[in-house]
Subunit: 228 residues, 4 copies
């Protein structure tokens, strides 16, 4: 966000991160303390804490970091000792390499299943919801006939160990706004939190749809001539 | 609506469109900024904005149009510059050709899957929920033994380009209150917003049911003699 | 309910029927104006109106009937002209033949699918949730090893025409607290609204589970010796 | 909980048990009066009542027991006569044998289906969400490459009769924080209510995922060499 909002504004990251975490929990994307959310406002980076129930995060539990990934403000709560999200270096891949305004991490079952059904990439085309995802190079929305391509990296024992393979993958797929982690989940980013949220909703929809299409024997990326 | 409600009434379109958009979002029919809603009250046509998070629309973000599809009142918000829904000419197909009181557009997964399982039409009969849909010519509810028929048109690169093929399809299927757009979603209308909402709930239920029936090897339109 | 509650009590039928209708709507059991609820309190029978959005019913929209099925109090609203639920004679089957305290009607997809997968009865045994359903003759809860049996009647063009076949079925199955209507939905009753609600939750759970079991090749009513 | 909270605190068991019961109901884990929750605070054990609608439990309906499983405080409500949960001796297995801080019981469909697809144990590995479950001996979180193992016991006619077979199973599987009851549901415990809740969310997620994996022909516990 280029505009810096007051702390009482419902879209200030102190309030927005808890709200979006509750939504992600309700969708099954962030249960069992899984998943995570980070939003940039001005020159500050707001990050949810690690290992907590995502639907119960409060405004005073959020970390504030600078562009060097240093904590500039600890969570204000005095009730508990919090750890910063282990996803932080992965969020910063999106901030540094793509100048993102927000980065979201989900553990949705559709991500895990798609990562098991695909080899190096998930590809789907000719579905309207593809138009809700932008090309990270041209900054334009994908077209209905374009293929959405989400690359897949292998999972590691510790989340932070994904940092370099995610960065490498982002270099190889400069147009993509998302990376799937096999048997784990997905990272999605955008220029603003609204774009990141719209993208994760579209991509998760497309992955769930693709699983149902597979069960019904339907093709994900039809030959152009077979689509009117 | 023939009765013109005050702006504070919960069923005034300023309040009802945001409420129904939230419901559609929660049902997965309008995620990722997809879907749209338009309601007529008196001689005014209320339309939700384009490309926004549908569950966060506020009363001051709604456009008001006249019968010529001209904007007579811009959204009152001064916080953001909004674009009118790209579905507007499609909503007006329903207003002009069917004298509708409301037109709804969803991106539900069941619509997309049904559009991939059918050729020119979706047909189902002998399910009680069919009775919740009206015949647009006779204005009577369909009977249990009638076939609900929803025609399918092909998707285009830009939503507005669907206008003429939707209109043509509506001429060919005068009894239908809905048009499926292949690989995209559905438009449903009704004489009132209540009827349009009831119809979309019944048709989506029937499509989801049909997908589950197919997985279980059950027929959608049984021969009359095989149904008691 | 033997205790007569004041109109302001949240469990007075004026408040409870709207609350339960909202829950049923959210579960997909009463969308598109489908489904219905009736509760007895003292010597009065409370019935929801017909053809309305079930999640928007208000306390002043409920009909009150006596034991002869005559309206003793019209809905108090002056805003609209309401029709009494077409399910009323079916609810009264449960009141007259079983001395029920409440009767619930759902259009859930699991009911419709089960009615298409079975011939004359749905039968399942050896699942813990069966214990949430009572035998209508002995008034005792079913045991884990008992078979839950729900008889199925054929649907008719008009809901009221189900009255006699439902009554006949209830005579033939005196132990059952539910009747499935093929391609339509289910009626479930209980001595109290709590028991009716508990029963419909258990039976719907068992039907949904049975559909998933069928997809996985699992048997609904295993031979006793094959279950430890 | 080692800290003893005041009764007005939202995380006091009087308030937390009703809140978690509502959540479990909404997830389909505690419908039809099924399921149950118990939390320890200080040297007191709080237990929800038996045979009631789990989403309507109030703070004044909770039983308080001591370490000898004796009731030290009856529910304060004077409106109804409540029975203590039949799961109580099973909850105390977790308190006595594992020094648990909370024990949760669900009737989720995924538990029942997994119990029908497996013989003596449910096993899954190489899925990120496994890391949300702790080893009860080492008290450390499982690793991504570890197998989560949940043992299965046979159901009995009366819940209390599961007490000894559950205890025996817990001795045989000292590392496990959960026991599946075939055709019935699951018991899950943790050092704190937060850990128990996190574990049940992860395990249920893994079971639901495993059912979907099976439908898609995917393996639950791949050979190490076949996973990068």
């Amino acid at each position: 966000m280029s505009v810096v909002l007051s702390e009482s504004h419902p879209e200030h990251p102190f309030n927005l991160i808890p709200e979006l975490c509750r939504k992600f929990f309700d969708l099954g994307w962030a249960t069992g303390t899984g998943g995570g959310i980070s939003i940039k406002m001005g020159d500050k980076y707001y990050v949810a804490p690690s290992g907590v129930q995502k639907e119960r995060i409060r405004p005073d539990e959020i970390f504030i970091l600078d562009a060097e990934q240093e904590v500039v403000e600890e969570p204000r709560t005095t009730e508990k000792k919090l750890k910063m999200s282990e996803c932080t270096p992965l969020f910063f891949n999106a901030y540094r390499m793509r100048n993102a305004g927000a980065c979201l991490h989900t553990h949705s079952q559709s991500c895990v299943l798609i990562s098991l059904l695909c080899d190096k990439e998930f590809r789907i085309s000719h579905i309207e919801m593809i138009k809700g995802v932008s090309n990270n190079v041209t900054k334009k929305a994908l077209g209905f006939r374009n293929s959405l391509v989400v690359p897949i990296i292998e999972n590691t024992d510790f989340e932070a160990d994904l940092t370099s393979s995610m960065a490498e993958c982002m270099k190889k797929y400069p147009e993509s706004c998302a990376v799937l982690v096999r048997r784990h989940g997905m990272y999605v980013w955008g220029d603003t939190w609204q774009k990141a949220k719209g993208a994760v909703e579209c991509i998760d929809y497309l992955m769930e749809l693709a699983i149902r299409m597979k069960s019904l024997g339907l093709e994900w990326e039809p030959q152009p001539k077979s689509v009117p």
